[in-house]
Symmetry: C2
Subunit: 287 residues, 2 copies
């Protein structure tokens, strides 16, 4: 193992991988093969290599308990959606999945009908009701399903990006009863830019890409015996539906947000004015 | 850009890259192509993707002003030596290059003959003299070349890993006069493990690889009008020459360390006992 060259180096590194675990062996082998193929194809200068080291270092150091810059990098490079597509091939008519994104965070357990909006957006945002059912593949309601929802405020910021919001604002966890039904109050989501003040912003600018995501609300649904469903609901008509910075849009997840002006429904759900009434049934896949 | 699938996602991400700069366009395009090819080949589970995000994050967060875990990762995966090989193809009979490694740090300017060892290794280490010339491609001595050297102590630790050592221990920067000659005192280097208490240690353990590097001393040589030369000198006979954890060994850089027992030379160079007398002429390449 002396006198390594461009020709023999990859094979010699591969020969050194002797894992006890077959999957680790496969991961490490494919990592080295593709990484070396990338380097041989690109032929980086030493200065470019130093810049890459620095970029990766700064990306790691931008992460903290409220920010995950490596997830955001994976998102804007289309890697997250590729992993998502690979892992959800046999969905049939189940609800489609999309990226988790970097903004999931702990939330409070809530009662059906609660308002997840607890900041100034209660006044400034446009009120919305989200309701529907959690169903099994045959359309049977699922009891005890947990629905973890999160969204940004009307200015496009999540609570963990914005210290002016109450803690755990615009987040909540709901649990279904035997009806499988859920309903909660919030505001209509707004489009927003992914954070561009870190290394991922450099990638977007270097690519000539905008950082915008179309308006959406996140759902993370779990039910015993079923595959975890991580998805969004998007707003029909949003100007960024065809240029999402993280490639997350799927046609089946774009919903109309019809305005409900019924006085009876306002009273029933506790709205002071008309509200967007968004109904969607989530269909899970058996494990 | 809706309904992205395994089949169309890579092309859609590639279409979004519109850089003003041709090299940035090439880097981003090849990055996305190879990264997506890796994901498609490996088909990671979502749990494996989360582990990869966590691994990269921890690697970035392990870095500080004294530790560079991403350089170490590049080193143990053979990437650093591959970049080195690609960037030094036309060396002819110039001194061969090898990895910088993660342990370069600022050092003091010194006078020829100074001892870079200033810790307990002055007593416990085996004294060594390093001497030779800095030459141009025709063998002409180079004046004003700076020679930045660094090595670990006899326990295998660099000063920046070991708070018991004096600051800037076993480092020094020397500048040649018109003779092109250099000479300085130190100790014979020892083999040592690369740090395994961070994410890179996980990669080595998962690969069933040892973390050892054969004994060596680093040289970073600069002279106006010449390419920077970053290299090591290795010790002939070291047990790790054929299994260097970072793949850095080149035959031409392995030197005998003959013992000089001449009383006259001990007096001349300021040794109290016999010493390893290591002579090597470095040949630089024109820019």
């Amino acid at each position: 193992m002396r006198n390594l060259t461009e020709e023999n180096l990859t094979d010699i590194v591969l020969q050194k991988i002797n894992s006890d675990d077959p999957r680790s062996q496969e991961i490490l082998t494919k990592l080295v093969k593709h990484l070396h193929a990338f380097i041989k194809d690109l032929e980086p200068t030493e200065e470019e290599w130093f810049k890459a080291i620095d970029f990766l270092t700064r990306t790691g150091q931008k992460c903290d308990d409220k920010r995950q810059e490596f997830i955001l990098l994976s998102d804007v490079l289309g890697v997250s959606m590729l992993v998502d597509a690979i892992n959800h091939r046999t969905q049939q008519d189940a609800t489609e999945t999309t990226v988790t994104g970097p903004f999931h965070a702990p939330a409070m357990n809530m009662e059906m009908g609660d308002n997840i909006a607890r900041g100034k957006e209660v006044e400034t945002g446009e009120p919305a009701l989200f309701r529907g059912k959690i169903l099994d593949p045959e359309g049977k309601p699922l009891k005890g399903a947990t629905i973890d929802v999160w969204q940004s405020n009307d200015d496009g910021f999540y609570d963990i990006q914005d210290s002016s919001q109450p803690e755990m604002n615009l987040r909540g966890i709901f649990t279904t009863d035997e009806s499988g039904e859920f309903w909660f109050k919030s505001i209509k989501p707004s489009p927003y830019p992914v954070p561009t003040d870190g290394p991922v912003g450099e990638v977007l600018r270097a690519s000539g890409r905008h950082p915008m995501r179309p308006a959406h609300i996140h759902f993370w649904i779990e039910a015993e015996g079923y595959q975890t469903l991580i998805t969004h609901i998007f707003v029909e008509g949003d100007e960024y539906l065809d240029s999402d910075a993280v490639f997350g849009v799927k046609e089946s997840l774009i919903l109309d947000f019809p305005l409900n002006e019924s006085k009876e429904d306002m009273d029933k759900y506790g709205f002071k004015s008309s509200f967007y009434d968004v109904e969607y049934d989530f269909k899970l896949v058996k494990k």
